[in-house]
Assembly symmetry: C2
Homo-oligomer: 147 residues x 2
Amino acid sequence: MRARDLLADFPTVALDTPVIEAARMLADQDLPGLVVVDDDGSPFTILPGTQVLRLAVPAYCQDDPALARVVDEAHADAFLRALDGRTVRAALPQRPRELPVTDPDATMLELAALMARTHSPLVAVVDDGRLLGAVTLQALLDRVLAA
Amino acid sequence: MRARDLLADFPTVALDTPVIEAARMLADQDLPGLVVVDDDGSPFTILPGTQVLRLAVPAYCQDDPALARVVDEAHADAFLRALDGRTVRAALPQRPRELPVTDPDATMLELAALMARTHSPLVAVVDDGRLLGAVTLQALLDRVLAA
């Protein structure tokens, strides 16, 4: 089996998508992460669900989650609202990260290694710069266990 | 809202559970990760789905996923089978990692910070060493977006 055999269409967000909308897509469609595309529709980055949270959580809380407790409960409940109007572009980390992106010929082992290494339950499959779709951890495990 | 308001029962695996069975639970029950309990039933570690793959992928492939392509397709398809009989205990990394574990009083912001920091879509909630359940990224987003 190769990545092309496990491909599924995957919703994308643009760099100009508001962060709050990205979070809503993740929640409503029960996605393991998001594929962010640039203005040409090419994959720009892949955000595992946990890293979508990273867009919304103040840096001092990420450095030390216990510090988050000094924020009162009402403000803590509303932490996503603080991002109203902020776009994915503005919220992305400055430092580029290794992307879980591969080509349609990738084997099951290669997909698993990429997911393990990048902590991403989602790998984008790209052919010649064009996004073909994505393979999820769930799809990978289902197929490998049935093999 | 506090962690206790989002708690869900969560299936656990023991240190002696075969890795292949852990992978099957993840796939069949569509879980974002696993809570590993020790012989007393206390949470020992939390394994996000991507780190369950880490138990099965040879280290050289994790260091450089492109190297995985030298493994032929038939063997690559069967990479989980190489672990037949191997237990979670034997497959855990030597180096202890920061655990996404908190107490029932944790706020939404604290849960989000923990998930972002540890790359885990799953936080175990523990009271006095006893596992009460877990909060998933999905449950957190659903509640925070509805607030």
